[in-house]
Amino acid sequence: MGNPMRIRAAASDGVTEVKVLMNHEMETGQRKDSSGNLIPAHFITELNAKHGDKVVLQAEFGPSVSKNPFLSFKFKGGAKGEKVVISWVDNKGDSRSDEATIG
């Protein structure tokens, strides 16, 4: 199970802005450790965001997304008190799902 995300969602004028910080190494698979061995690739591959039952964003990442990824996007609708759920999976099959209340 991955580490928790930090999700902020704020609604104003009928648009909800979502900002997500994920806790992930995003290892490229091209770096070497101090003894010269290749560090295996480990990165988030897919992410999706839902507002209620509706998918509001799907994303695919490659290893060149930065460590501890940041993502921000906006969708129409959303009201204070409703939930936004973000889920990701990585190339090793690890996953994480967290939710935030729209403020």
């Binding site: 580490n3 995300m5 900002k19 910080l21 806790n23 930065s66 460590k67 501890n68 940041f70 921000s72």
Partner: protein
């Protein structure tokens, strides 16, 4: 969390204003732009989040939480605590910074040996937890005024020792802290160097560490920051929580007094 947008706006303004005066023309503008965009979401929040849980979790041989830890504002008070550190603590008869104080709490409340940190590795084991707790604690002083109490003779002495250490040149490159941080408007490569001998620079430097470092994706406590300064000075390694690190912290904090806490910060 209400204060966040304000904090961000300030950080963006500072990121744009500070380097413009120091570097010239388009390079400065480009870097300012870069820093302003980074201020948007600081991954240090991930450490804060984890630290808040760890603070409340039972741990160590004594299976106790840190909720009774006295950071100077009374047992369990975290709000505003780091803005007033380092300070003199009667119970240990020492001037302590946040991390040495946390070591005391972990030892007395939880039975966790200081060796875990003094002999530990950054980002590993108990040290990782220390870093998360530090992120949480310093986040609880965000936007407050730096306010260290210099009235005790112990603090005055530590300040004098810290100032001496700040100017102490040694090693194969003849460097001291003051080599890089003793004048206004200097940089190493493109990194602006705060002049830590003056209020403005000390407030900028002391006030924005601990911080997340984008270059390696790590969260650095002030002890880690000082440790790496000494590494680059080509000195031997300062011991975690040792008096020289605390003395330098007192020197910086006193000079920064009245400035704003911007921690946890985000750095290159």
């Amino acid at each position: 969390m209400k204060t966040r947008p304000m904090m961000l706006a300030l950080a963006v303004a500072a990121a744009i204003a500070a380097p413009a005066a120091m570097a010239e023309g388009s390079t400065a503008d480009g870097i300012a732009q870069y820093r302003a965009m980074l201020a948007e979401g600081n991954p240090a929040e991930l450490w804060e989040l984890a630290g808040e849980d760890i603070w409340k979790e039972k741990a160590g041989p004594k299976q106790a939480s840190l909720e009774q830890c006295d950071l100077g504002k009374g047992p369990g008070v975290v709000k505003g605590a780091s803005a007033a550190l380092p300070r003199y603590f009667k119970d240990t008869d020492r001037v302590q910074d946040l991390e040495s104080r946390l070591m005391t709490c972990m030892q007395t409340l939880q039975g966790i040996s200081p060796d875990n940190f003094v002999k530990g590795k950054w980002g590993k084991g108990e040290m990782e937890k220390m870093e998360q707790i530090v992120a949480y604690v310093v986040g609880q002083s965000r936007d407050m005024k730096i306010n260290v109490d210099m009235s005790s003779p112990q603090m005055k002495k530590m300040y004098a020792l810290g100032k001496k250490a700040f100017f102490y040149r040694a090693g194969p490159m003849d460097f001291a802290c003051s080599t890089c941080h003793g004048e206004d408007g200097k940089r190493i490569r493109l990194q602006d160097l705060p002049n830590l001998t003056k209020h403005e620079g000390a407030a900028a430097g002391w006030g924005s560490w601990p911080a997340y470092r984008v270059s390696n994706g790590q969260f650095w406590t002030m002890q880690h920051r000082l440790n790496d300064c000494y590494r680059q000075q080509r000195f031997p390694e300062p011991i975690y929580g040792s008096d020289v690190t605390i003395a330098l912290s007192v020197y910086m904090a006193k000079t920064a007094n009245g400035g704003t806490v911007m921690t946890p910060g985000i750095k290159r």
